[in-house]
Amino acid sequence: MTRELQAKEKQELAASGEQTKPGPVFIPAADIFETDKAIVLLADIPGVKTKDLNIDLRDNTLTLEGEISPFEGADESAVLTEYDVGKYFRQFTLSEVIDQSKIDAKLTDGVLRLTLPKVEKATPRKISVTAG
C-alpha cells in the first residue's frame, strides 16, 4: 500500500533563544530503532554536507547539529518561498550504554544513518562465598 505524501512544514525548534547564531533552527524528522546489538538513528537533513554535520555524544546525550551553507546564487531573487532553510538541531537521551569507539555515521543524499553499538554486557560473575 502506498500513501500519498503530504506536505509538512518543517518543525522549528522552540528554544531558539539558546542559539547564538541568528536564523531558523529546525528539528529533523528521525527514525530510531533498536536491535540486539545497536541503536540505529536515521534523520532527514537535506542540504547538510558531511563537513557541516556535528555529532556529539556525552553523558548519554546525543546531539545532532547540521549547518546549511547557502546554495543559491547571489543574483537569484525569490519568486515563491514555501519552505524555509536553516540549520538542524536535535538532541536525544540514550538509556543504553554505547560503545563510543564503534559509532558509525553515514550521510547519503541528505539522510544521516547513525549506528550506535551497545556495549557488550559484562558476563555476570558468580562470587562464591566459602564458610570460614
Binding site: R3, L5, I32, E34, I45, G47, F71, S77, E82, D109
Partner: protein, 148 residues
Amino acid sequence: MIMRRLFDTPAWRPNLLEELEQMRQRISRFYEEPGKTTRRAGVFPLINVTENKESYFIRAELPGMKADEIDISATADSLALSGERKIPDEDKNVNYHRRERESGKFSRMFSLPSPIDASKAEAKMTDGILTVILPKAESAKPRQIAIR
C-alpha cells in the same frame, strides 16, 4: 452583564471600516516580509522558486531520493514533479522507538510566471535537495535597450 455590553455597543462606528483596514494591513505585514511572497500550497514537495535574468531555479527537499527516482517534465510554461519516496525496510527483528520519516508517492505541477525553454532544462540532486534550472525563453528575458 454580557447583554448589557452587547446593547451598549453602538451598531455603527463611523471609523469601523478604517479600523478594519488598518487591522488587515497589520496582519498582512505580519505574514509577509517585504519582497518575499510566502504561499503554502500544501502539496508535496514544498518548493522554493527563485529567478535571475537567465533562468528560474526550482528547489525541493527530497532527502534520501536519487535523481533517477524523480520524474520531471517541463513544458513551455509549466513543470511537473512526481515520484515515490521509499524508505528501505530494515531487518524484521528491529524494534522501532520512533518513526517520523514518511514514505509515499507524490505528484505536483505548477505553472511558471513566464515562458521557458523546456529543451534546455536541467536538474540535479545534491545532498537531498533537487534543483531544476529552467532557462527563460528568449522572449521572456529582460533586454537591455541601448540608447543612441
